[in-house]
């Protein structure tokens, strides 16, 4: 909780520091110095808003030659110097027809002078020198205030409900998901048939929350298999995920009171290549014919091959993923499918962990807020009030 207070203080002070200033400079038009290609005219040098303070926007009026001799101008080149007398360096170019350029290579607070050169095939014409322009460092990106509000809101909700759940020792109501019974049933059947249980954590590494949610479910599956003495097979895609799975399974065996039955080699690294992995798992399915297949985690195109191959080997299949593209195959070919967030909710329920349960509750409240925000948004917009939409505007 102390930490949250600290975050708040940090954010509030940020907002207070929000001191974006815009400096503008105009200058007088230049005389044409060429017959055919007339020079452009710089109209303004502005600090690029909401940035690091390393960029100046240069705006100019297009050279009259653009309309007089279409196609005569190829591009505008922009030159910069740190004083009107010193040499000008080229900082960039834009195609004909464009009248704005952001020079992203400036030091905050330093004055700069610019000129824009219209370049044709054989001749060119430079605008008069304009300046000084300065870029200003900003401490808060104003465009993102709606984002900030939502980040604070959601993080607060989740953190608060985790604390509440901890205080209540995890005794918070979560809807019973039919998949829990299915897990027990599937492992039970594998035991009866004397066949192994295949558990696949998906293609993501441990920094994917789906993999972590999958670990909670793996813990339950491993505990059951340890208790029944059923063989568990966990091929992994990433070395890190493998190490984490080993630890999880080891603990589960300990909880089930059978630490000696734990075999490290049952959880092994196969390959990090997607289809190499598919081929490997496919091989396991065809050769060993596991009686229960679990596909929980992040899945990509391999989902269908797994689900369909598992279907032909006659395994009970339980799937769950937050990868929206893959859900259709699981829904069609598996016995039970956890859709998106249900994967996280199932992980929370199974572990009985107040932290996970609290987060799910916090997420639920956030969803309720979204729900009413949308309804309020529609009602207000129909009444001609755009306030809720403006808060969410990013540009």
């Amino acid at each position: 909780m102390k930490l949250l207070v600290a975050i708040y203080v940090a954010i509030v002070s940020l907002v207070l520091f929000d001191v974006g200033l815009i400096q503008a400079d105009t200058h007088t038009p230049a005389e044409p110095d060429s017959v055919k290609i007339f020079p452009p005219k710089i109209t303004a040098l502005k600090d690029t808003p909401n940035d690091a303070g390393t960029s100046i926007d240069i705006l100019w009026e297009l050279s009259p030659s653009e309309s007089l001799f279409p196609g005569a101008i190829i591009e505008y080149q922009i030159f910069r110097a740190s004083s009107p007398e010193s040499t000008f360096e080229r900082v960039g170019a834009v195609p004909a027809g464009v009248s704005k350029f952001s020079d992203g290579g400036t030091e905050p607070g330093k004055p700069y002078w610019y000129k824009v050169v219209a370049v044709g095939d054989s001749q060119q014409a430079a605008s008069e020198i304009a300046g000084p322009g300065k870029s200003v460092m900003q401490w808060f990106d104003r465009r993102r205030k709606g984002v900030l509000v939502f980040v604070i809101l959601i993080c607060t909700l989740i953190a608060v409900f985790i604390e509440v759940a901890k205080a209540k020792k995890g005794k918070m109501f979560l809807r019973h998901l039919p998949v829990f019974d299915a897990i027990d049933e599937a492992i039970g059947r594998a035991t009866e048939m004397g066949k192994k249980v295949l558990y696949i954590m998906g293609q993501s590494d441990v920094d994917d929350p789906q993999t972590v949610a999958s670990m909670s479910i793996l813990a339950r599956v491993a505990e059951k298999t340890a208790a029944y003495g059923t063989k568990l097979d966990v091929p992994c895609v990433w070395p890190m995920a493998m190490s984490m799975a080993r630890e999880t399974v080891k603990e589960s065996f300990l909880r089930a009171g059978k630490p000696d039955a734990y075999k490290e080699d049952d959880i092994y690294y196969l390959t990090s290549d997607q289809f190499g992995y598919v081929a490997g798992v496919d091989g396991v399915m065809m050769r060993d014919r596991p009686a229960a297949n679990f596909y929980l985690g992040a899945f990509y195109a391999e989902s269908l091959i797994f689900a369909e191959t598992g279907y032909t080997t006659g395994a009970i299949q339980i799937a769950g993923t937050a990868m929206v593209d893959q859900l259709p195959f699981f829904v069609v070919a598996c016995d039970y499918t956890l859709i998106g967030e249900e994967l996280y909710a199932a992980g929370a329920s199974l572990s009985g962990d107040p932290i996970q349960i609290g987060s799910i509750r916090g997420q639920d409240i956030a969803k309720a807020i979204f729900f009413f925000y949308i309804i309020a948004g529609v009602v207000l917009k129909l009444a001609g009030i755009n306030w809720l939409e403006t808060l969410l505007r990013l540009d």
Binding site: G53, D141, V212
Partner: protein
């Protein structure tokens, strides 16, 4: 020590990147850029570690004479060959016309593409055997699938001119609505997991 320092690292890094995402000022943005470059640097070692582990696993397989251990020789041989061909001429080894590229275009390419193309068979088989209108929901799924299958190929247009527009309508509205609902939920799950890991509440990823 073994727990406190890593937890401090994730806390400091997490809070810093989160908060500074709203601060565009140059000194802070520069630090962030550097941290992210380090991130990319470390990530590359993950993949090298993966390659190393693959070799190790297969050597162990051969040593212990596990099932299919003979194939591990092929795997190790291919891995060694690829590494040799990728390094023997320095950077130029991966240019066009080099043996490395021949292996890519004539071994890796056909194998990878063919693996995926097996899916054509599996999707058809799944359509025939698993795609049943068991209840109203499944019927809904089935009808939507058939309409879109017709709307996405020229022959559908030949049957009825309206299929493409019906398809686009389904994709743009009911499909988009459900996908949006799912991803809002998924985002929340993602945020809550990230927050827990940053705050050190979730530690299961540490071995």
């Amino acid at each position: 020590m073994r727990l406190q320092i890593p937890l401090a690292i994730i806390l400091v890094m997490g809070i810093f990147t989160l908060v500074t995402a709203f601060i565009p000022a140059k000194p802070i943005a520069d630090v962030n850029q550097l941290l992210r470059n380090w991130y990319i640097g470390i990530i590359t070692f993950f993949i090298f570690l993966g390659t190393f582990n693959l070799a190790r696993v297969n050597i162990n397989k051969i040593k212990r004479r596990r099932r299919d251990w003979g194939y591990s020789f092929i795997l190790l041989g291919c891995l060694a060959l690829m590494l040799f061909l990728g390094f023997y001429k320095g950077r130029a080894s991966t240019e066009e016309g080099q043996p490395f590229m021949y292996l890519y275009f004539n071994v890796q390419f056909p194998l990878g593409a063919t693996m995926y193309s097996l899916l054509a068979f599996f999707v058809t088989s799944a359509s025939f055997r698993a795609f049943r209108a068991r209840n109203k929901e499944a019927l809904c799924l089935l009808l939507a699938a058939v309409i879109i299958m017709l709307g996405r190929v020229p022959v559908g247009t030949a049957i009825w001119k309206g299929f493409p527009s019906v398809t686009e309508w389904i994709m743009n509205y009911p499909n988009a609505a459900a996908k949006r609902g799912i991803s809002l939920g998924i985002d929340l799950g993602l945020i809550s997991m990230a927050l827990r890991m940053i705050l050190g509440i979730e530690r299961s990823y540490m071995q």
